[in-house]
């Protein structure tokens, strides 16, 4: 059903009169996707906030002796109050974060809805025109589906980063039980660095995402709430 455009018509005055089209709408986001999006939004917020509080306990990636701090993250922008509190938030919400991630991925794969966001080789030719439009005042390429090639690239990357945040996190949490995974990341010490780096990459995506949501306007935003996008460009 997703992506099919229907017309919104005004209520008929009498049966024989032609219907008046007042708008168009497309069902873009199935319920599972919307639920996962918003629960994951909360979970991500808590994971980042508590993660930064955990980082405050040892804000370095070097040795303990001598300790060279990388940055002093302000406590006001952290969740949990202290290391133990932050760990409680982190170890609780990681399950919610993982659950929504798994549910989302499972749904996307089995429903076929992944085609909406998955960046494939077919999207490659459309990348450059889109870059030209976004960054170099190029003409706007025709809109054919809910996401343009650059959006697909961004969302596909974000999903990849989400998976990486879980995998790197598992290695920080259980470097011995997931020893093969930790080994791939260079051991516990490097897994912690990767986990931190992936967080910033996700925050970078979120920043871009928020800017684009504002630029794309109200109808686009509402589509993530009701599933329906009014007057899509395709």
């Amino acid at each position: 059903m997703s992506g099919v455009v229907i017309e919104i018509i005004q209520e008929k005055k009498d049966k024989d009169s032609d219907p008046v089209i007042v708008g168009r709408a497309a069902y873009e986001h199935p319920l599972v996707v919307r639920l996962c999006h918003w629960i994951n939004t909360v979970a991500l917020f808590v994971m980042v906030g508590s993660g930064l509080q955990i980082f405050r306990a040892f804000p370095s990636f070097g040795a303990k002796i001598p300790q060279k701090d990388l940055l002093h993250w302000p406590k006001a922008f952290a969740i949990g109050g202290w290391l133990g509190g932050a760990l409680q938030w982190h170890l609780t919400f990681m399950w919610i974060y993982i659950a929504t991630g798994v549910l989302y991925l499972g749904y996307q794969i089995f429903s076929g809805n992944y085609r909406q966001v998955l960046f494939t080789h077919r999207d490659l030719p459309g990348v450059w025109p889109m870059v030209k439009h976004y960054f170099f005042f190029g003409p706007k390429p025709a809109v054919r589906e809910s996401y343009n090639p650059l959006q697909k690239q961004a969302y596909t990357s974000a999903i990849g980063l989400g998976v990486l945040s879980v995998l790197t996190g598992l290695c920080v949490w259980k470097p011995i039980q997931f020893s093969w995974l930790a080994w791939m990341m260079g051991g516990f010490h490097y897994a912690r660095i990767w986990h931190f780096a992936v967080m910033w990459a996700i925050l970078f995506f979120v920043l871009g995402h928020l800017v684009m949501v504002i630029l794309h306007g109200w109808n686009n935003f509402v589509s993530m709430l009701t599933g329906w996008k009014k007057d899509p460009e395709y």
Binding site: I21, A25, V42, A63, W95, P129, E145
Partner: protein, 290 residues
Amino acid sequence: MKGEEPSEELTAGERDGCKVDDLEFDENKVEDKKKVEESNVAEKKTAASAMDENSIDEKKFRLVSRRELLKLTPVLALGAFAIPGLQEKLLKKGLGFSDWASALLFRSGHRATTFDNADVAPFDKFPINGYDVDDPGVDLENWKLTVSGAVKKPGRYALAQVQALPAIRQNTRHVCVEGWDVIGRFGGARLSDFLTMVGADPTAKYITMTCADDYYESLDMATALHPQTLLCYEMYDRLLTREHGAPLRLQAPTKVGYKQAKYLMELKVTHVLDKVGYWEDQGYSWFYGL
């Protein structure tokens, strides 16, 4: 804007069939051509489809939208975490779930990575983390470990009795809950060997430890029986120094740092966990296995 719409007649197959060459040829020209075609199609389409099922009544659309929005209400359940009275309970439950999952994930035969001597941090770079004092003033001469609980031979055991058990030396990574880690060299007797010596009940579930500095800790039996879990009396091939927990400490490389109790005084084998741990009582995870 409307003129650009390809309309729903452009099927997925047609989109996919759009050749790379077409786009690379001359983008503007191709696009202009398309625009004209599409606007024609769109005009025809609007008139034709107005009558078919691909339309929805304005009122009904508002109703459908509202209903879909309401379906998102389960998200609000997360607000429970913002309620002060409930927050603590929920987080405790979350931590408990995490510990439960940790115990499931723990593989008793799976060993922590061991390292070459060259990878071991110098002794003076191995951090000392006491919870209050670096030296609780243990009388090393007369020290004995009191063993009690579900054991056949309770009593007080001398260091020599621990040292008489097969000695294990291992270079393993010590991971602190704070996030730092250091590779150190440890030596001691397997806790499992010691438990066999004192005749511990194999069906008991926990080991609790009391320390000279009033610190206390507890271990699950699976970790206590792990081949790398030591009653440690050596670091860097020398007897433990006072600040590292002389004369005896726990060294379990599959656990986080605060589980490695120093200055051991009492060890109890038990079926019921009556004393959990100093940091656990402040809100840290109990299992915290790596």
